[in-house]
């Protein structure tokens, strides 16, 4: 079985809009934005695809501090993912082209994914290789 090569680079939260604009100019397609709640920050991954090659950009957005710049200026389609970040995780965003202001999802409780997952026991050892296949 083939395991995809999935390079991951780290991007400063303030630089993500510029990073996305460069990707758009280079002909990349926005694949997805995902978010993992950590204790003190949100770990976001922006995935782009060009000719079946995947490029991931990792952004660590602190819970407090400046809001995350939106990438909707380059990728309008990002509005679904960014509204999801806002509704489910409580990530604060600035410059969102289509802002549903927390009404994109209809939820029982506000930002239900904001707390980190409680796993059964703490990891015995931290992940040595975060991107398998590299």
């Amino acid at each position: 079985m083939m395991i995809e090569n999935q390079p991951l680079e780290t991007v400063e939260p303030a630089k993500i809009a510029e990073y996305a604009a460069a990707k758009r100019a280079g002909g990349w397609r926005l694949v997805q934005i995902s978010c993992t709640s950590l204790a003190d920050a949100f770990e976001l991954t922006y995935s782009f695809d060009k000719d079946y090659a995947l490029q991931n950009a990792r952004v660590i957005q602190p819970r407090e501090g400046a809001p995350l710049p939106s990438i909707t200026a380059s990728y309008l389609a990002g509005f679904t993912y960014e509204n999801e970040l806002q509704d489910l995780f409580g990530v604060r965003l600035s410059g969102l082209a289509l802002d549903f202001k927390g009404q994109f999802y209809r939820l029982r409780a506000k930002t239900p994914m904001s707390e980190p997952h409680v796993t059964t026991k703490p990891a015995a050892k931290p992940a040595a290789n975060p991107t398998p296949g590299n």
Binding site: R106, L107, R108, A109, P112
Partner: protein, 154 residues
């Protein structure tokens, strides 16, 4: 088998099902299973419906929609909960947006088991519902008061 003189119409609503039971409900209406042979017709209008078929567990936004649909249906009416999610919440019982089975919101007359419920089971459930519908119709005819509308309590 129960027998109902008039042709009962069915309204289907997906409360938060995974689609598995929904397409099986639809499959009941198409060739091979074909519930139209019992005179059952699928309608999109609650005011025409006698049987409310609900698939999936109830979550916050669909709770009000279900109440709305149910209260718009004329008496007599029956509710059929299709699949384990509609019965108890099923595999999604523990998720943060799910309230539970349909009976957390509405009085349910027939529960159809299965994940996904098989068309045969759904048809059995609907036919069973016809019997209950007939009893309710007879009670209304004999002068029983119409049950009050179900209120949603937050």
């Amino acid at each position: 088998m129960s027998f109902f003189k008039k042709s009962p119409w069915l309204l289907h609503y997906d409360a938060s099902s995974c689609n598995g039971c929904d397409i099986e409900v639809l499959a009941c209406l198409t060739p091979v299973y074909d519930v139209e042979r019992f005179g059952i017709v699928n309608t999109g209008n609650p005011k025409h419906a006698d049987i409310l078929v609900i698939t999936g567990s109830v979550n916050e936004p669909t709770r009000e929609v279900i109440l709305n649909l149910y209260n718009q249906m004329p008496h007599p009416k029956v509710v059929v909960a299709v699949g384990v999610c509609a019965a108890t919440g099923g595999i999604f019982r523990d998720t943060y947006n799910v309230l539970g089975g349909v009976d957390t919101v509405l009085p349910v007359d027939v529960y159809v088991p299965g994940c996904a419920a098989r068309p045969e089971a759904i048809i059995d459930g609907v036919v069973k519902a016809l019997g209950i519908l007939e009893t309710k119709a007879a009670a209304l005819k004999a002068g029983a008061a119409e049950p009050a509308a179900v209120e949603g309590s937050k």
